[in-house]
Symmetry: C2
Subunit: 154 residues, 2 copies
DNA sequence: ATCCATCCAGTAATGATTACTATTTAATAA
DNA sequence: TTATTAAATAGTAATCATTACTGGATGGAT
């Protein structure tokens, strides 16, 4: 669980970004960010929509999409999860990487000094300038491993 | 460019896979794989479709999608490129990683001993079993860098 | 408190991918 | 080689996530 302080900090940071970029810090935007900043689940758009709806029943799905695009543009959040159909989001912009369960889609954060110090190979450097490294470990999460072992459920 | 030998080898390997798994090695499937195995471009579905159409004019887009799914299931090809909308494919199943140009979508292969030896952090290992590591370097390719420098084109 | 550019709700449109069905074909054996 | 049959294909419709559009609503500077 993310601490209230941490969540509040991220929301406050967004308000600062709004002033700088001249975009409005509306109720909808704050709630969407608050929702994302308060979880480690890396939710998808539909999930964020459902949850924000509990606070703002009339909010539209398009607003959620638009807001997430805006937040990403401003560098406040990031898109996570390769290949898969539904895009998932992360309000943690500190340097970290992801473990993804191929079965249930669970995403977990981890850090790695090795990856942080990763020297770009000459071979790759020759292709162009490198802005970032995206790393994803793929596997089967603990929970899915357990369930695979005891197929007692019918 | 991929050598004819290499391409032929990949196609032959697929025929073997077909016999083992009891799926038919049809003309369409062979041509789709031949197309993908003969390029280093990591093409998307539409591109593969257009190219195979030159050899099999009546082929349907659905067949291309179905075949690529099949090839991926059998471990003959891989999906590449995170986040983006159009999925791209790679017939090179040897251990390697990708450089992706955020501007034009160019994808290049590279290898890295550091990444191949990457020890899964305890933190990540606790989340579950790790099957694979997906690494992607994101940046701007040489060509796009050049074009950005001389904005003479109107 | 007012004004106006920006934003939002509701809904339609888009674009990639998948599903469906009647017809064709690959693979096996006679 | 030909017959047989399950599997594969072509053509097209359907689906699903995401994006676009529009008239009405709202944040925030004055």
């Amino acid at each position: 669980m993310i601490s209230r302080d941490q969540t509040a900090k991220r929301v406050a940071a967004f308000q600062a970004v709004c002033r700088i970029h001249g975009v409005k810090a509306t109720h909808q935007r704050m709630e969407i960010l608050r929702e994302l900043a308060g979880t480690e689940e890396h939710p998808d758009v539909e999930t964020i929509y459902e949850r924000v709806r509990r606070r703002i029943p009339a909010i539209s799905l398009d607003t959620v999409y638009r807001t997430l695009r805006l937040l990403e543009e401003k560098g406040v959040i990031r898109r996570v999860g390769s290949i898969k159909d539904r895009t998932r989001f992360d309000a943690n912009t500190e340097r970290h990487h992801h473990f993804v369960c191929a079965q249930c889609g669970m995403i977990g954060d981890f850090t790695s000094d090795v990856l942080d110090r990763f020297p770009v190979p000459r071979e790759a450097a020759q292709m162009g300038s490198v802005d970032g490294v995206y790393v994803e470990l793929r596997g089967r999460c603990r929970k899915c491993q357990m369930e695979a072992k005891k197929p007692e459920k019918r």
